[in-house]
Symmetry: C2
Subunit: 403 residues, 2 copies
């Protein structure tokens, strides 16, 4: 199957097979008037004027900007129930302490796998309309073996029903379930959940909410060592609520990513940089909770390959849209548009260990491409809230078209 994406007004993409850090984040490859040849879902040629002979299918991209599909490297998009009451209470001044996770846990335990899959599918489809072609989704609202497995099985169902690439993360250590001793739950994670996740191949990553009031450094270390031993890649919810040493631990364990990082120390940032940990920043959550933002500029100055994501979840951020996250990264974290695009594509792919496969438009990578109707890519944050996505291509097939 040979597909030609024809007549692209301007191609805009970072380049590389791994994360790019520091000032390299600021340089995008830009080329006018190109076509992209796709064979069996993979980009095989990018050039001006590719002949149409032997082409099975042509996608008209006339007048459009082509960019790599967005990669959203951090969401909690499989759940039941909504928490607008908590959201509105917080606006009136009630502080976020993560307690709402247990409310969602109760709704998830009461929901069927089918319902959870249908909910997640609806969220993933809305994300697709905003250009997200790969999304990471965490469990973490089950908090016992049966319900964590149910969430991850729901994700498996979703994967069969959407064109989006879904990366599953096991986050049993998201909170502590009620009526259970803390150590007993951690022991359950290590001796029952992680082996089950491994045996049934339910997730690619294991993550822990390491923070004040959640999992301690020692607990996080124990869980993630077990996960690594079971062949899972690891991530850490680090330093969101307090400077609790999460970044340092991510470096110690060579985690793939450390996420949130609002309160991270200079030492933590330097250690992450040395250890090759991708910092995943989630400005939508800082926006929603009205807190300080993560120190993106300092991280880039230290050479770190910053990634950005939505953190879509029912408590602290209901933003589906990577273009809005790019807007917040530019307007509130002081990132350049070029850095924000790199963070939302190639570096986000690296935060999922997928930078050799997606995250840029280059020969050999999967043809996950979005077509945008802005005049130039610098308008993405400027038209804040506008969805610039006209069409979404996954593996060379058009899977979404705006009306």
């Amino acid at each position: 199957m040979r597909t030609l994406i024809a007549g692209i007004r301007q191609l805009v993409t970072p380049r590389g097979r791994g994360p790019v850090g520091g000032e390299k984040m600021n340089s995008l490859f830009v080329q006018d008037g190109v076509d992209i040849l796709v064979e069996d879902g993979r980009i095989v040629r990018i050039a001006v004027g590719i002949p149409t002979r032997g082409i099975d299918n042509t996608i008209d991209a006339a007048g459009m900007i082509a960019m790599p599909g967005f990669v959203d490297p951090h969401t909690h998009a499989v759940f039941a129930g909504t928490r607008e009451d908590e959201f509105l209470a917080r606006v009136r001044g009630v502080r976020y302490d993560g307690g709402g996770i247990l409310e969602t846990m109760r709704a998830v335990r009461a929901a069927s796998e089918e319902t959870l899959a249908a909910n997640a599918r609806a969220h993933v489809r809305r994300m697709l309309a905003w250009g997200t072609t790969t999304v990471e989704i965490k469990s973490g609202y089950g908090l016992d073996v049966e319900n964590e497995v149910k969430l991850l099985l729901a994700l498996r169902r979703v994967r069969r029903n959407v064109p989006t690439r879904i990366v599953a993360t096991f986050l049993g250590a998201h909170a502590f379930p009620p009526a259970m001793r803390r150590d007993d739950y951690i022991s359950m994670i290590i001796t029952e959940m992680i082996p089950t996740v491994r045996r049934r191949r339910l997730a690619q990553f294991c993550d822990v909410f390491c923070d004040e009031g959640f999992y301690t450094i020692a607990e996080t270390r124990a869980i993630l060592r077990a996960a690594r031993g079971a062949g899972l890649r690891i991530k850490i919810h680090a330093d969101e609520l307090a400077p609790s040493g999460g970044a340092e631990l991510a470096a110690e364990l060579s985690a793939t990513s450390a996420d949130h990082l609002l309160c991270t120390s200079e030492r933590g940032m330097r250690l992450m940089q040395a250890a090759g940990v991708v910092p995943v920043l989630l400005p939508g959550t800082a926006f929603t909770l009205h807190t300080e933002y993560a120190p993106a500029r300092r991280m880039i100055a230290l050479g770190l390959p910053v990634a950005i994501g939505t953190d879509f979840n029912p408590g602290t951020c209901l933003i589906y849209a990577m273009p809005i996250v790019i807007g917040l990264a530019v307007m509130r974290m002081g990132m350049t548009v070029e850095e924000a695009i790199t963070a939302a594509t190639l570096n986000a792919a690296a935060a999922l260990e997928l930078a050799d496969e997606i995250g840029s438009i280059e020969e050999g990578k999967a043809a996950d491409i979005i077509l945008l109707d802005v005049d130039n890519y610098r308008q993405i944050p400027y038209f804040f809230g506008h969805n610039p996505v006209r069409a979404v291509i996954c593996g060379g097939k058009t899977v979404y078209r705006a009306r």
Copy 2:
């Protein structure tokens, strides 16, 4: 022509034929399972189980929430050129001083009436997809007789080509054109522009940018008195950049609305309340410029009928979406969802002297109605950035459907 909007899951609307102020803003009329009967574009009956006999057309609203179409009472949506470079420079720390208006003026003077109309039409259509069925649009980027008239004639063209109700405002006093004496320009506004606007029926309102660095109180008074004498209703850009007495002047002149009001004094608010001036708050601009927000809570405490709008313009706010403005009103100005919805519909209609015609779903009013796919109206700010609009009905006709 009799149309039935059938099977509405929940009707949500403010009620009244004029603005509602203070605590009345917080109470919406909510009814489950109703139908709406429309005759010749007007709502004639709202009830449970309206018989389908004699109906020419049925709009299926099953499962949807019905609300009045949003009224955006303050935009500058007719212009040429974009200013993303200025936007990005401001993010890097360059302060907004309104100077970019002249950049847009140059682009507008170089553009044809057709181009300006095409640009505005595109903006109005995007707004329609976010549920805006009535929009106020100001001139103000021409700054001479020929080009101000061209902008208003472009709006007349747009009005013929979109289902949206467009209210035109003459804002010749938006800035001072280069190479012209200040007094000469004001004299041109009063003796040439306003009479032309009147004679050719180009606008319903006259507005002045009354602020530090722009028009003084005395200049604003002179222009608006002339406008009133010519039969135009009046509005004031008041106290955006500094406490410059705009609110007090709006009260003195019984302006229909005073807009922005970030720096308004307690006295100004009390005078507006006594004089029946509608305060139009524009949180998207405060968000974009990262300034303080207008004191909405204080205004509501004083009984003022707060309205909200986008301020869509090429310099300081490119937000099309009233749902995003509602989100900002709730998250950043401390308004309740109910107050924000009232502000975006009935009070916004009052800011355009249209509260007897639109702004609520009530018998006798125009059938400008939007159908939303949220579970309940409290989710509008919660799903920040999501477009909840599934269908838009103007005058009883479906004019937009989401895919």
